[in-house]
Subunit: 337 residues, 4 copies
């Protein structure tokens, strides 16, 4: 159940709602964001308790919701969420292109790539300065220095920026440099990090975990929302299966499934899913046809010498070449790009 609190409610009035819930041992959490205050309940109470709740002065409405995620559910908000990040609209009619290198390496690298991406219609430039790497001996990213380059380069080229955040201590600092925060697949259930980005005030791209169910993915979105941030962008990036011809198995069914469950936008990262560049054009077209609101693609000016993920990074020109095809598919399904 989701209890919407009246704007006029006093702290004491809200407190008495919580007391009633505590009395009935109903797990709950008060969630405030920029437009409303709600109380999320773990389950749905009995009809009797619901009646009691609805009589309380602080309660505007109390909506039964059958899914374990509440704020993220279509039952809570039937209209699609459109997210704004530095002038870019995500979740609207237009399919949004996001691209860039895996790791930020230098000013020159960013400039070289940004010029090409901008021409191709890319709205959001990716690039990370803190990298989750399997080995402690691998390059771990340029750190804040890199973020400054990212921020500078993108102001120059007029694109919004996205970067990965890996721990709660960095959230505030990173939020000052970029427009969108990204939670990587390995951190999808790093609940303290989810809480922290919930309080960051910046839109968040939430990548699906390597073995996360769609329900778990939406519950992680719920964490972010329940801590004050309604601007969550889901990102399908492949799940781990037995198949080895691709790095992960891109689960494009998740796009229409998610659209039946939530109002949040969902984008697709074919680069991490495939782990090889030759499949990117086909998978990008398929993602748009399946209903994705955007694409997140790795592009690097010198993939062979990239500090990470070179194998799955396209050259700017190879990326640019298939953008017109993406546009045609977007138009075929009644969208633009």
């Amino acid at each position: 159940m989701l209890i919407t609190i009246k704007k006029s409610a006093s702290a004491a009035e809200i407190h008495s709602v919580q007391q009633l819930l505590d009395h009935h041992r109903l797990g709950h959490r008060i969630c405030e964001n920029r437009t409303q205050t709600v109380i999320g309940l773990e389950g749905n109470p009995s009809e009797e308790i619901a009646l009691e709740l609805r009589k309380l002065p602080a309660v505007e409405k109390a909506t039964r919701i059958s899914t374990p995620f509440k704020l993220a559910s279509l039952a809570a908000k039937p209209e699609k969420t459109v997210i704004h990040a530095n002038g870019v609209e995500i979740g609207g009619d237009k399919v949004v292109l996001m691209a860039g290198p895996c790791s930020i390496e230098s000013q020159e690298q960013l400039d070289l790539i940004a010029v090409e991406l901008k021409k191709a219609g890319v709205a959001v430039m990716r690039g990370s300065a803190f990298k989750p790497r399997s080995s402690p001996y691998s390059f771990q990213g340029m750190g804040e220095e890199g973020l400054k380059l990212h921020s500078g380069a993108q102001k120059k080229h007029q694109m919004a920026t996205v970067t990965e955040v890996m721990n709660i201590q960095d959230v505030e600092m990173i939020a000052q440099h970029v427009d969108i925060l990204q939670i990587g697949a390995r951190n999808m259930q790093n609940f303290d990090l989810l809480k922290a980005v919930g309080k960051s005030g910046k839109p968040v791209i939430l990548k699906r975990g390597l073995s996360a169910t769609i329900e778990e993915w939406l519950l992680s979105a719920e964490y972010i929302m329940a801590h004050g941030n309604p601007d969550v962008i889901l990102c399908e990036r492949g799940i781990r299966t037995y198949e080895t011809s691709t790095r992960n198995t891109l689960d494009l069914s998740s796009i229409p499934v998610v659209k039946q469950l939530t109002h949040l936008p969902v984008i697709v990262d074919p680069s991490h899913a495939a782990g090889r560049t030759d499949l990117i054009p086909a998978l990008s077209k398929a993602a748009i046809a399946a209903g994705a609101d955007g694409l997140l693609i790795e592009v690097h000016n010198d993939p062979k010498n990239a500090k990470s993920d070179g194998k799955q990074s396209l050259l700017p020109q190879d990326f640019t070449n298939f953008v017109p095809d993406l546009r045609k598919v977007a138009e075929a399904i009644g969208r633009s790009l």
Copy 2:
């Protein structure tokens, strides 16, 4: 290695090729189809043996092939295979629609469905009379009686037909009634059945096994080809993963992967993959965008009372409604439908 035998070669000359291979303990198999005779080798011999082989009078050429499948490989045949089944072309520019009920139940059922499908542009009608069912107590199909209905109905409505074959004893009988044989996912590595349909003279739709790698799938195609049948249509129908919001996980990456490995056409069955009808439109569009040569979709006039797979069967009208959208996507990628 694949050894192409000269058309003029005598039996004795061919025999001496095999003797040489036996002498060097090289696993091989002689494969004859309607246009050529080849000898497939398990691996690739040394350069010395290759030289010896190429000197033999029966040998036209001896091609090293790095993949474990040989006849199915692009190295053996770089141009795309186009398969003809009762006037329908599979693997050409046109994306082929195949649809129909899971089980054949009656004359009326087939007629009702066929009329609608024909109008929507469906070229191949599916329907099975022998059903692989998990439980021995479930409906096992109408048997030959059903095939006669299938064959009759389709002559009347002028569509090609496809039906599942489950055991070697039925291959010949079934091949007399329908235009295309189908090997189900559970039989993808029923090697004796693959050999039998290899000798059937009819095109074969080979569904990917629930946990088959792409390499194993192509090796199963190789079995059919190595036993004389070059007309294999691959069919992606979802793989088994931990995700439960869909019946199986449709692996659309397999389409571009397979296109890089083989000249055979590949189609997609979104119905069995999703196990629910609401995802079929999105997945069908995505499949075409990913490069599929056709779609295989379950359509039933009365899904609630279907003898099998009702949950994933569309009503004819619901199917018909999204065909124009499929056409737009096909045209966006330069194909027709």
Copy 3:
């Protein structure tokens, strides 16, 4: 539901049971084995229909069974099934050792291995003459010739024999040569083959499919039982997962799970699961500790030159060396070996 038919029931009386089921459109199948006749129902009928059924003269009892498998369920038969094969008891207190080569290759090979195995306490010798191979160019087995060697060698060394059967045409012939038939993992849902071994009169080892759920595995056992053969031995041999350090992931949880669901014995094949010999001792001990009724292990006198599965085959002596450890574990859990 499972309807037990009275021994005294006439054909007409049985027919009237089936008529009643047909009238109520209840999927069912009549199953006869050497001791009883039962009718298995796909689901459970309403209480009213159950009452009607119980009044019919042919009906001894009608047992509601909540699982989709009926004859295989503990509800149908609470006491453990003990299977006898040429003097060997499977499913009793004693843990049964089954071992031998993957493929039968020659008389010498069988004799060399058999002598060692016999000394180590192996009761059943494995060895196949028809091999399911991923590639059509790989060695496909010696055929009936091999079975004769198998049969001869084992008479000489006084062990029971098991061999794989791959197609319905060979069932009868193979059943004449060996004591136990084996259905391989790739054929676990080759339903026509299950029906055929159901009529064979020989005990059947049913390997779990690479991606079969436990329920599907037991339903495949039910197929064999419903076609007249109560002597099914389940065999866990690993399932396909993303982990690559082993060939498959041995699911030892399936042992206690299966014991809670069925009265059938269950054995473990660590060789195919691991795909490497160094894990076999540890996995064999774990399998016994988990409650397995037997082990099926690949042993070959010359693994490097084995015609199949050499990588996972132990030398006879390496196998013999850890048998005493297995015995200790069996005794620790109150069994013998």
Copy 4:
């Protein structure tokens, strides 16, 4: 490669090693723990560079290591690591029992459970005060208050303690209250957390991620070790597969696989793997037989009203009942319990 630094080396001498590595663009990291300083390299350098390295005054030895984990490898340290935590030895001959509730709920709860566990021979009591929960509306743990209870109760009952740590900010505080830190499966690749517990000075139980390969698991152990902590205890707790009869699939093969790769101890958590209590006895016996150095089992005095994981928690008495059977299996393989 792993470069061992001489105890006598000066900072400047160590710096010149790093300079040489930087010059050759070799990813590396300097790792200091209580007994030694080493430099881990991402890969292995050429023989020429190795020669150069070995000539430097700071270098004691430079060992080529073929696995991506270095400190954790058997090549770096062939003898088994035995870890000491408040008097308990983990990784020695004795199999260690660890048990307790999922969440710490009250003083009474801890006392009730501790008395029984102590009698049964449990050496380490588990209990968490910070809980990773899929839903933001579920009970999130008692926090530091709970840790104080945990610490107090265990002093009273003389057991070592283990608790989960979820974020870097809590590491220091938690390390003051308990003897062993636990990294949960969902945080196995939360690299900043791994670094933080690397500096904590306390032994760490590292649970395997739900879809982590064994290599990734050992690389996460390497993170902890490379940041100063040699005391890592691996914990197998099941991986995510398609099978639904258990919550996860316990991968007992990982025990012997890990033993071939690392000197670190490995324990098994059958409770989280199975998600149901009826399988715990069989899986515990199997884990010991497979070579596990310990067990981690959920025990709760009132599972039905547990604040988390009630379904998989044993009653103290049910746990106590099968401990003698575990002892017999341990003795059968030459260990004690």
